[in-house]
């Protein structure tokens, strides 16, 4: 009997997946995905679909932030504040990004009552918004803020902070209005990024100098993929500190503010093995 060729051809380079989450070396049936790989993808997509609709547990997040303000009272003398966009629910949020960028009327009143308007401006407002992955916020926001507070305390210049805010059904641009109403020189928005198949827990970060309504992405700097398996919170905070320092020094953010932080790339891998 002659031995026939197997139906599925495996790929010997599959073991490279030890160094990446990318779906490499999947093998092939003819030139198509083998059944097992096809179904594994379908499962990941089903889970990501479910993650989009999981609501942020704001009560738990606010409680954790409250505990943080107690621990870090010198930098954070105020209690965290819960705000709401004009998108009342998830379905509206997904279809009406304009509403997710605007504060509800009652939230505007809450901020204006905080009485920062007219005083001398604070240096920084930190805004947490659920975005498209409440999971990313729930898992990473508190840890990131804690790392940032440590870096701010250790910085050469002093940083006066506005109260922490948490926005439900919020988009990135809502931070500009929040920052403006809190009379902050700079705003940093932490927001859940759209969930990927391999990373349903990504947190994104956007910095704007002199925040006010109507700004576009050209005025913002972004650091993305903050999560344990991506950019760790300490490293993200270090990069943000560079941007904050430069924004404050140059009084600018966005396209004119280039991220020139030293790349201390910790290659977890073995470099470019293709050159060997």
């Amino acid at each position: 009997m002659t031995q026939s060729k197997p139906v599925v051809t495996g790929n010997p380079w599959r073991r490279l997946s030890a160094w990446t989450d990318a779906r490499i070396g999947l093998g092939r049936a003819g030139v198509s995905l083998p059944t097992q790989e096809m179904l594994a993808f379908q499962l990941a997509h089903a889970q990501a679909r479910d993650a989009v609709h999981l609501p942020l547990d704001t009560a738990a997040l606010l409680k954790a932030l409250e505990e943080l303000t107690l621990r870090r009272n010198a930098l954070l003398p105020h209690e965290p504040v819960h705000l709401q966009s004009q998108a009342g629910d998830r379905v509206t949020y997904l279809q009406r990004p304009d509403l997710g960028r605007r504060l509800s009327q009652s939230s505007c009143q809450v901020l204006d009552r905080l009485g920062h308007t007219g005083d001398s401006p604070v240096d920084l407002a930190i805004v947490v918004a659920d975005g498209l992955s409440s999971y990313g916020v729930q898992e990473n926001a508190v840890g990131f803020i804690e790392a940032l507070l440590t870096d701010l305390e250790g910085d050469d210049q002093t940083w006066e902070l506005a109260p922490l805010t948490v926005v439900s059904q919020g988009r990135v641009a809502i931070g500009d209005d929040v920052g403006h109403r809190l009379n902050a020189r700079c705003v940093v928005v932490l927001i859940g990024e759209r969930p990927g198949l391999s990373s349903p827990d990504s947190l994104g970060l956007y910095l704007t100098w002199q925040p006010r309504s109507g700004l576009t992405d050209a005025s913002r700097n972004c650091i993305s993929n903050i999560r344990p398996a991506g950019l760790p919170v300490e490293e993200a905070s270090r990069r943000l500190m560079y941007l904050l320092g430069e924004a404050r020094r140059q009084q600018v953010s966005g396209v004119p503010l280039k991220d020139r932080s030293e790349e201390t790339v910790i290659d977890q891998g073995i470099g470019n093995f293709l050159l060997r």
């Binding site: 990318a22 997904l94 759209r194 280039k258 290659d267 470099g271 060997r276």
Partner: protein, 465 residues
């Protein structure tokens, strides 16, 4: 004012932009912008009114004022009256007939390109069915070159997209290897950097340049960073093949992206001065996508498909190697589901090709859109039939950096087999020479690991196999 009577009912549309918007097949972004037709009937009436409009109207009436917008000025100032002459007497409806007719051969279509404005292309697309968009696009041929030739008949290229969430060198190299061994990467090896700064761009450019040189791959590389970063990388003597930029169809959109037309001209000149192409010198790589103008609140009340077509005027000015409409990336606020994504992909490909652009498509969706792999299979097949120049290639359809799904290396091979498509000729010869493919047409991958890559894998911890 544009009027139309149907039976004893009279309809009116106050501006050209309103007529165009209401004639557009339904999609969520136009609903979000408040420019969509109120009823299904109003949409068809608008299409009927649009069909009666002379093409010449678009030369005398701008959807965004000439004084306010440099893209409008580009469109009207660069319009070629001589090239327009053969279709100058037509209405939009007649133009559809003409495009579908046997008068409009590949050569004739190429000769009228410079006479067609984006708004004319958008208008006629609005009264075309999907099969019309496919048929006419398949007649258009747009060929470009840098280190290989893209857009030849019977060919379909792929961008190898080895993104990694932390730009990890090993991770990126692993995806490049996977892609090359599945025959991907003749359009470009293009990385979206996770860290968007000059230092990182230079590092990634060097990585790709070294791989391309070591294996003598007839292809080009690109880091998809802001045009001003690439300009700085060129100043630092980094190995830049292609300049990337996301572009939109209004001046305000492009300003929100942080550039204007002068920036692009400067960057193109800088890339040309490096003289790195071997068989051609198309040095620009543009990405577009319906909804970007509205997203930047820079749409001037114009529907998103017309804004998209206007972006092609920006692209056309700079003779790109590749133009990629990233059709499903923007999300369900602009293209709600598989049906809207499919329609938009076919419209973009058609409009781009009609205007003379080397159109490719990032056939994709996000996890918050009402779409799945089956929708992508459908659009992939349709665009293959329409002779799309290139598609994306990514391991297992999963972009672990940008968090969306696009076409996989396997998907491209599926299309090559069912539609008898081949990669760019120079790249195809390389695949055969390197024993990556068993056949000479890039359809049958080798069963064993090709000799040239064995040493690299053997160097890994655990050795080769």
């Amino acid at each position: 004012m544009y009027r139309y009577s149907l039976g004893n009912r009279r309809w009116q549309f106050s501006t050209l932009a309103e007529l165009m918007a209401k004639a557009t097949p339904a999609r969520s972004g136009d609903r979000l912008a408040g420019v969509i037709a109120d009823t299904a009937e109003e949409r068809v009436v608008a299409q009927m009114a649009l069909a009666e409009l002379p093409l010449k109207t678009f030369l005398s009436e701008a959807v965004i004022p000439y004084e306010q917008d440099e893209v409008t000025r580009l469109i009207l100032d660069d319009h070629d009256v001589g090239a327009f002459e053969p279709v100058a007497h037509l209405t939009v409806g007649d133009f559809r007939n003409w495009l579908l007719s046997d008068h409009a051969t590949q050569e004739i279509l190429a000769s009228v390109q410079a006479g067609i404005t984006p708004e004319m292309a958008a208008a006629v697309s609005k009264i075309m069915r999907n099969q019309d968009l496919i048929l006419v696009a398949a007649k258009c041929r747009v060929q470009t070159a840098f280190r290989n030739t893209i857009g030849l008949p019977g060919r379909m290229s792929t961008r190898l997209q080895p993104n990694h969430p932390t730009d990890d060198i090993t991770g990126i190299a692993a995806s490049i290897l996977d892609g090359l061994l599945y025959g991907s990467g003749d359009a470009v090896i293009g990385i979206n950097p996770a860290t968007d700064n000059v230092a990182q761009s230079v590092r990634l450019l060097q990585l790709m340049d070294e791989v391309i040189r070591k294996y003598e791959i007839p292809t080009q590389s690109c880091v998809l960073t802001h045009v001003t970063n690439t300009l700085e990388a060129i100043e630092q003597k980094a190995p830049v093949d292609l300049v990337f930029q996301s572009i939109g169809g209004t001046e305000a959109t492009n300003r929100s992206f942080g550039f204007d037309l002068a920036t692009l001209a400067e960057a193109r000149d800088a890339a040309l001065s490096l003289n790195r192409g071997t068989v051609g010198n198309n040095v620009m790589y543009f990405e577009t996508g319906q909804g970007s103008a509205l997203s930047a609140n820079a749409h001037h009340g114009v529907d998103q498909q017309t804004c998209e077509a206007r972006a092609y005027a920006v692209a056309r000015k700079f003779q790109p190697l590749l133009v990629n409409t990233v059709v499903g990336f923007i999300g369900p606020e602009y293209l709600f589901d598989g049906k809207e994504i499919t329609r938009a992909g076919l419209e973009d490909h058609f409009c781009g090709k009609l205007l003379g652009l080397p159109m490719g498509c990032d056939i994709c969706y996000t996890n918050h859109a009402e779409a799945d792999q089956n929708d992508m299979d459908n659009l992939l097949t349709l665009l293959g039939v329409a002779s799309c120049n290139f598609i994306m290639g990514i391991p297992g359809s999963d972009d672990i950096m940008l968090n969306y799904q696009t076409t996989s290396f396997h998907d491209a091979l599926y299309l090559r087999r069912v539609l008898d498509k081949r990669p760019a000729p120079e790249f195809e010869q390389w695949l055969t020479r390197m024993q990556i493919f068993q056949d000479g047409e890039g359809k049958v991958p080798a069963d064993k690991l090709p000799e040239s890559f064995r040493a690299s894998l053997a160097s890994l911890p655990g050795g080769g196999s």
